[in-house]
């Protein structure tokens, strides 16, 4: 055959063919084919559907093939921390009401900077936001940082999550929060409950056993919920969402001109065992949280305190107890007298007052905590309270009962006598109990929306402050190019994703910081300052152009569109 063909086409044709093949192989050597990219996401049907939708958008709009890999949560974290990924589908929720709780993630070498992105300008802007006390200048720095983050796109925000609930309409003043504890029930009451409002109570579902009710070490929202109900710190965000003097233990405070010193005046208040709440309870508790021997995950939220980070970084084995005890005395918190607390910060943090309502900042009575030692807060009879409610019964893994705390300083504002919490993880069961009138509130996840979404007692979508996004490994051969990363973000149709896939009222994320975060000056959302940095619908033309440019720069063959 070969000889025949050569004879028929002659030498010229053969030479031409050889030249063509040569050219093609030369081109192939220069331009690498697009690699198969892996997208890491959590296991479970709900996430799977979301990831498949993203996969399809990237395939259709960019001709990019990604292969999802579903792993359990801890495995995903491990892969992220080891930078062992191309792309990850991840989420983040705020700890306090300041854009910094989002923005400081992506500083060079940051603990959560999984994409390993590094940008000197960004670092500088975040440093300004961390060290400045002028809110105008801080917000401007973070606005610029947001723009830079969207332009360089180590992460691509997709949506800001919203949740809906089925909630009996007779429940009043039931305040959901995006930061800290998920619900504030201090002022809640019922009006028009069938069977009467004489005895004020609520039947609620915690979903799971609270893993840790010790304020110093607690890390999860279920526990935060109970701790917020049973403890009172310096401030409590009021029903209008503001922090005002006298809202909790601090009746007054002075802030030094450099923003680094706070002096709080405390009111007379009692623990549930009758003991007074004093400034020393704060000193003890804050030192305990920062103490490296406590090994508190949230110790980092205390790092604004003078010397906190340094003390927390000590090694209990190498440095020994005495050195740590001595160092703790240098922590920026001090009791001037029983009712006066002086706090010294490492650097000015205008959001410090908001931080003091966080669980880790609650006071603790030393005598009681030391009496129970490691088992403090392990059972209902091994803890004290100074908040609106006390835990009167706790059957682990089954139920927890809160009752009104008669020794609470503001007991007159608390109308609920009793709150019963189930720990039912199964959504279907929770809905059945709600249908029977045995639960007063239950969450409504997307798969139940077709069933109950139109009911009158279903709440409007409520943004819980978390953002979901794609992270890209900026060290990977294809995602080292910012144009490629930005193209990924432009190719995603966020509106379609929210309307057709999530269907729960979540909002297209047009920047990283969630809209619940305020600007610290006017109380307006920070996102209003920055505008829309990502389109709500896919910008396919711009995405394809950037993608092609980026690929060419990195020496990849152009994508094929179907």
């Amino acid at each position: 055959m070969k000889a025949l063909r050569r004879a028929r086409f002659g030498w010229a044709a053969t030479l031409a063919a050889v030249a063509l093949i040569g050219a093609a192989s030369a081109q192939a050597a220069d331009l690498k084919p697009l690699p198969k990219l892996t997208l890491i996401a959590d296991q479970g049907d709900i996430v799977r559907v979301r990831v498949q939708a993203l996969q399809e958008m990237l395939r259709k709009n960019l001709g990019l093939d990604i292969e999802p890999r579903y792993v359990d949560f801890k495995t995903r974290l491990e892969l992220m921390r080891n930078h062992n990924f191309d792309m990850v589908y991840a989420g983040w929720g705020p700890d306090y009401d300041d854009p910094l709780t989002f923005m400081d993630l992506f500083i060079t070498g940051g603990a959560q900077n999984d994409p390993q992105w590094s940008n000197a300008v960004y670092d500088k802007l975040i440093e300004t936001a961390q060290n400045n006390m002028d809110q105008g200048q801080r917000m401007e720095a973070m606005r610029q940082a947001e723009i830079l983050l969207a332009h360089e796109a180590p992460i691509v925000p997709i949506y800001w999550r919203a949740n809906r609930y089925r909630q009996q309409p007779f429940i009043k003043n039931y305040i959901r929060r995006a930061v800290g504890a998920p619900v504030e029930r201090k002022w809640a009451y019922t009006q028009g409950r069938p069977g009467g409002d004489g005895f004020q109570y609520l039947n609620l579902n915690l979903l799971e056993e609270p893993p840790d009710l010790d304020p110093s070490t607690s890390t999860d929202t279920v526990s935060f919920d109970i701790i917020n109900a049973t403890y009172e710190g310096l401030v409590r965000v009021n029903p209008e969402g503001k922090i005002v003097k006298g809202s909790a233990l601090a009746v007054d405070w002075q802030i030094s001109p450099d923003g680094k010193e706070y002096v709080f005046k405390l009111r007379d208040a009692k623990w549930s065992n009758g003991q007074p709440v004093t400034a020393n309870d704060f000193v003890y508790s804050w030192r305990r949280a920062v103490d490296p021997r406590t090994a508190s995950q949230y110790a980092y939220i205390m790092y604004v305190l003078k010397n906190a980070e340094k003390i927390n970084a000590m090694d209990p084995k190498k440095d020994g107890d005495k050195a740590i005890d001595d160092a703790l005395k240098t922590l920026g918190v001090e009791a001037l007298d029983a009712h006066t607390l002086k706090v010294t910060l490492e650097k000015p943090a205008p959001y410090f007052l908001s931080l003091t309502s966080f669980i880790t900042y609650m006071p603790l009575p030393q005598t009681v905590v030391e009496k129970f030692g490691d088992s403090y807060a392990a059972d209902a009879n091994k803890m004290v309270a100074n908040g609106p409610f006390i835990v009167t019964k706790w059957d682990h893994g089954y139920q927890l009962i809160l009752e009104k705390n008669p020794t609470y300083w503001d007991a007159k504002s608390v109308r609920l006598q009793k709150i019963h919490f189930d720990m039912i993880a199964d959504q279907g069961t929770a809905h059945n109990l709600y249908n029977k009138g045995q639960l007063d509130v239950t969450g409504l996840s997307s798969q139940f929306i077709p069933l109950y979404g139109r009911n009158k007692d279903t709440t409007a979508p409520w943004a819980d402050g978390s953002v979901f996004y794609l992270e890209m490994n900026t060290q990977s051969p294809i995602f080292r190019n910012a144009k490629v990363r930005r193209a990924i973000g432009l190719a995603i149709d966020r509106q379609l994703f929210c309307d057709a896939v999530l269907k729960d009222g979540s909002i297209p994320a047009t920047s990283f910081t969630a809209p619940v975060i305020t600007d610290g000056e006017t109380g307006r959302p920070f996102v209003e300052k920055i505008g829309k940095l990502w389109p709500e619908t896919a910008d396919v033309a711009a995405a394809r152009q950037l993608f092609a440019e980026g690929l060419a720069e990195e020496g990849f063959a152009p994508p094929k569109y179907n």
Partner: protein, 307 residues
């Protein structure tokens, strides 16, 4: 017999040690640890590992664990901070056991009856009904029964509680849902076993002697037909007690089943080990008891041992 018992006991201990060891090392091979979290910083993470002794070499940790285990100390849960695994098992197991035993009792009584009735009416309407039902019970997963029963009996009819664990009426739906699959298998097993016995010579002899049919069924057929059931009862009992996870979750039952699975997702090392060792011990004990029972029921086994 004593020698046999001693030998079985030694095997049991070895089996338990093997389960402990394999689980320990497999568990540490899974990525992540109890304290890996989105928000933890590397230095704090290190402090947490140190506090729980997870920074030590794995073999040292293993040695420590075995030593504590010998003292009956299963350690402190790493997820439900401040709670001892012993307490968690002490609280949760009686609930799971009650649920499991109720389910077992229900499955055995109804299954054996149904299987017997079916075999005595071979190829009749009763037989076909029993076979069909048992097929349905075996093939439909328990959580489907649970969900349907909860909705129909709990919500629509309102005859029994929807969920929670407050008294006997709360145990009926979960026990029924849990036992129904086993009921199906037992019915089929009993029927087959009875049909095998029915053709034996000694049954013909018994009938020829003019014994009443109750006496034939009860004393001669049953006693022989029940043997295969006893064999599977050990693993089934353990299975039903450990298999309560889904049913417990659906009915809000505060048992041990959910810890068994959750602990793995949470990498709660002490709880993974605690529940695994505990359940393994239970399973080994159940098989041990069944072996003993077998000897009591079947004289041939006793003879074989003696010889």
């Amino acid at each position: 017999m004593a020698r046999y018992l001693a030998r079985r006991l030694v095997y049991s201990v070895i089996a338990l040690w093997l389960v402990t060891t394999v689980t320990f090392f497999l568990m540490h091979a899974i990525p992540g640890d109890p304290f890996s979290s989105e928000k933890v910083t590397p230095s704090i993470h290190q402090l947490m590992l140190e506090k729980y002794g997870l920074d030590k070499p794995l073999l040292v940790q293993y040695g420590d664990y075995l030593l504590n285990l010998l003292h009956g100390d299963l350690g402190i849960s790493m997820r439900q901070t401040n709670r001892s695994v012993n307490d968690m098992i002490r609280d949760g197991f009686p609930v799971s056991a009650q649920l499991g035993l109720e389910a077992l009792l229900f499955a055995v009584i109804v299954g054996v009856t149904l299987g017997t009735v079916a075999s005595l009416h071979r190829n009749g309407v009763l037989d076909y009904t029993a076979v069909l039902l048992s097929l349905l019970f075996v093939s439909v997963p328990s959580f489907v029964f649970a969900t349907v029963l909860q909705y129909v009996v709990g919500v629509r009819l309102g005859w029994l509680p929807v969920a929670r664990w407050e008294g006997f009426s709360y145990t009926i739906l979960p026990a029924f849902s849990l036992g129904i699959g086993m009921l199906g298998s037992l019915t089929r097993l009993m029927r087959t076993s009875m049909l095998e016995v029915v053709g034996q010579d000694y049954i013909r002899t018994a009938r020829a002697k003019g014994l009443s049919s109750w006496s034939v069924v009860g004393r001669h057929m049953w006693r022989n037909a029940i043997l295969p059931l006893v064999t599977v009862l050990g693993p089934l009992t353990a299975g039903i007690i450990t298999g309560t996870l889904i049913i417990e979750t659906i009915f809000g039952v505060p048992g041990l089943g959910k810890y068994y699975v959750e602990s793995i997702y949470n990498r709660d090392y002490t709880l993974i080990m605690g529940t695994t060792v505990f359940y393994a011990g239970l399973l080994i004990a159940a098989n041990f008891i069944v072996d003993l029972l077998y000897g009591v029921i079947d004289p041939r086994i006793r003879l074989a041992e003696r010889g």
